[in-house]
Subunit: 242 residues, 3 copies
Amino acid sequence: MDDARYWRSVVNAIVSLIDEGTFNISKEGISLKAMDPSGISMISFSMPNKAFSKFNVEKTTPVGLNLGNLSKFLDRSRDGEQLVMKDAGNQIELTFVGQNSKRKCTLPMIDAGKDPEKEPKIDFESRVELKSDSLREVLKDVTLVSTYANFKTDKNFFLVTGNGDAGKLEEEHLDSADMIKKLDVKKATSATFNLEYLERIVNGCPSDTTISLSLKNDEPIRIDYMIGEASFIYYLAPYLES
Amino acid sequence: MDDARYWRSVVNAIVSLIDEGTFNISKEGISLKAMDPSGISMISFSMPNKAFSKFNVEKTTPVGLNLGNLSKFLDRSRDGEQLVMKDAGNQIELTFVGQNSKRKCTLPMIDAGKDPEKEPKIDFESRVELKSDSLREVLKDVTLVSTYANFKTDKNFFLVTGNGDAGKLEEEHLDSADMIKKLDVKKATSATFNLEYLERIVNGCPSDTTISLSLKNDEPIRIDYMIGEASFIYYLAPYLES
Amino acid sequence: MDDARYWRSVVNAIVSLIDEGTFNISKEGISLKAMDPSGISMISFSMPNKAFSKFNVEKTTPVGLNLGNLSKFLDRSRDGEQLVMKDAGNQIELTFVGQNSKRKCTLPMIDAGKDPEKEPKIDFESRVELKSDSLREVLKDVTLVSTYANFKTDKNFFLVTGNGDAGKLEEEHLDSADMIKKLDVKKATSATFNLEYLERIVNGCPSDTTISLSLKNDEPIRIDYMIGEASFIYYLAPYLES
C-alpha cells in the first residue's frame, strides 16, 4: 500500500463500531462483516484488490484481529510511509517502510468468529445524502438533550429531533440547504435511533465525505459511505418506544 | 439578533457566575440581577433593546432559565446564523436560522427566584482599568501559590500578591505598564478576594476587553465591563483575615 | 538572564526526572547532580557562568529547591521578559522584569540532600546520535506494546524493539536513515531499559535537538544533550531479565 494513512482511515472506520473482527482476504480483495457486541448494529466493509498497489493472495484466508490494537499501530504511521501487510503464520506483520527506516509491528491473530452475518433486506422508502461533517454537528446538537435522535424525511425536508429534561431540539433542513446533497423521498418516513451508535458510525467517516442515509418507518437505518475504493455499509436497529 | 455568537458571549459572561437565573424582559431591554449560590458575589447585567435587530416585547416578563443549558445550546451556534428568541408560554424557543436550515431549541422556564437583589452602595477610593487578558494572566500566576489574591493600589502602581506553601508572588504594575489603561487613586487601598470567584468573573469577559476594578479598603470589589451594548457589573465580597 | 524562557527549558529538562534538587552555585556557574527517587536514573547538569547575561556569585552556595514549583513559576513567563534570580537568605527570589511591570516570585529553600552523586564510569562500546523528536516518536511506538524498550546497535543500524500481549514492535534505522545523525559502533551492543524513564528523559529535551545515546551490553545507558550552553547528562540502569 503506497500510503499507510489510507489503510489507517479504513481501519478507524471499522473500529468505531467493533473492537475485534475477522477480515476475509480473497483474490478479489478484503471484506469484513460483523455485528457490534450489543447486537443492535452491523458493519459490512469491502475493499477491492485494485485499492492496493500490490495484492498477492493465493487462497481465501480469514484473519481475526484485535482491531483496537491494529488501529493504535496505524495511528503511529508517519508521513510518506509505505505499508506492507503480510500473513506470517498465526500472526500478521505490518511493515512501515520509510527512508532507510523500517518499522515492523507483529500482531497475533485471534479467533473473532468467522461466520459472515447476513445483511438485512429492507425496501427503503427515502434516502438522504449529506456531508459527513454537517451530520456530525447535527448529532452533537442532539446529545445536548437526549440519547436518541429521531430522523424524519418528507417531500422537501430532512428533520432531526431530540427530547429530554434539558429541553427539546428540532433541526429542519430543506432539500435546498447547504448540507443536503440529495433528498429522495418515495414516502415520508420517521424512525428513532440510539445516538451513541449513530455518532460512532458517523465519527468513523472522514471529513468532507458524502454519507447516505436510507430510511423506512421504524425499520433499521442503512448508512453508506466510501473511503477511496473502500465501501462501508452500516445498519442500525431502530428504537421503538413501548 | 443578527449574530447568534454575540448572545452566546453575553450568556457565557453570566453563566460564569450563576447557573440559574431570571431575565427581566421589558420594553427597555433585558436585565438580570442575581447572587451566586454561595452569596459572596453578585451580578447585575443589562442590555438595551437597541442591541437587538428586532425587539418585540409587550409586557414586562420574568423568564427563569437554566443558564447552563442555554449556554450549551448557544455554544452550538454556527457561523453566520441569525438567532430568534421567543416566549412560547412556559418555555423559551431559540431558533438558529441558517441558509435553508432552521435549528430550534426549546427550553423549559424554571422558577429561579424573581426578586431583584439590591446593589451595594460603596464609595470607592480607587479604580484600575486594565486589559481582560492581562488580568486573567495575573490571576493565573497567583493560583500557583494561593487561593486568595490581594489587590493594592497606590499613587502610581497596582500590586497583586498571593502567599502560600509553594512560595510568594508579588506583581507590581506601574501606571505606565502596558496592561494598565488607567489608574485613578484617591486613596491607597488594599483588599483580598477569593481567587476562584475572581477567575470566574474575569473568565466570563471576552478577550481584548477593558475591565474596570473599583476598590476600597476591605470592602467588596466592583468589576465592570461591556460586551457590545451589554453592561456587566459584578460585586465580590472581600476576604477578611480573622 | 535576558530570556526567562531559556531558563524555563533548562529547568523543565531537570524536572522531567526529579522533583526536588540542590543547585550548586559557584563562580564558574550552576550545576546539579541527583538521582531520581527510585534510584535507577541520575542527572548531571551544568551551565557555565557565561550563559547568563550577568552572573554575580561570591561564594559557592548550595540552593535546594522544589523544582516542580520552580518550573510552574517559569511556565508563567511572558514574551520578552528578563529574569533576575537572587539569593535572599533562606529563599530564592525570581523577578520577571517586563515593560513597567515586575513580577516577583519567592520560593523557600529546602533541604534536598547536598552530596553530589558520582557519575558511573563505563567504557561505552557504541554511540548513536539522533534527533530528539524522532527518538520521542520511536519511544511512543514502543509504549503500544511494552513498558520496556530494547536498544541494539550494529555496524550499520540502530534497532529498537518491544514485546507484549498486544504484539511485537521492531524498528530498524540504518545509519543512512534521516533520523540518525551519527552511528559509531566499536562493538555490537544490546540493552533493555524502562520505557517510562526513557520517555521522561527524552521529553525534557527541546524539539530539534541532537541527542546522543552511549551504550554497552547490559550496562547503563548514557544520554547527552545540550540546551544552549547548558549540558545535560543522564544515566539509566538497564533492565536485566532474571
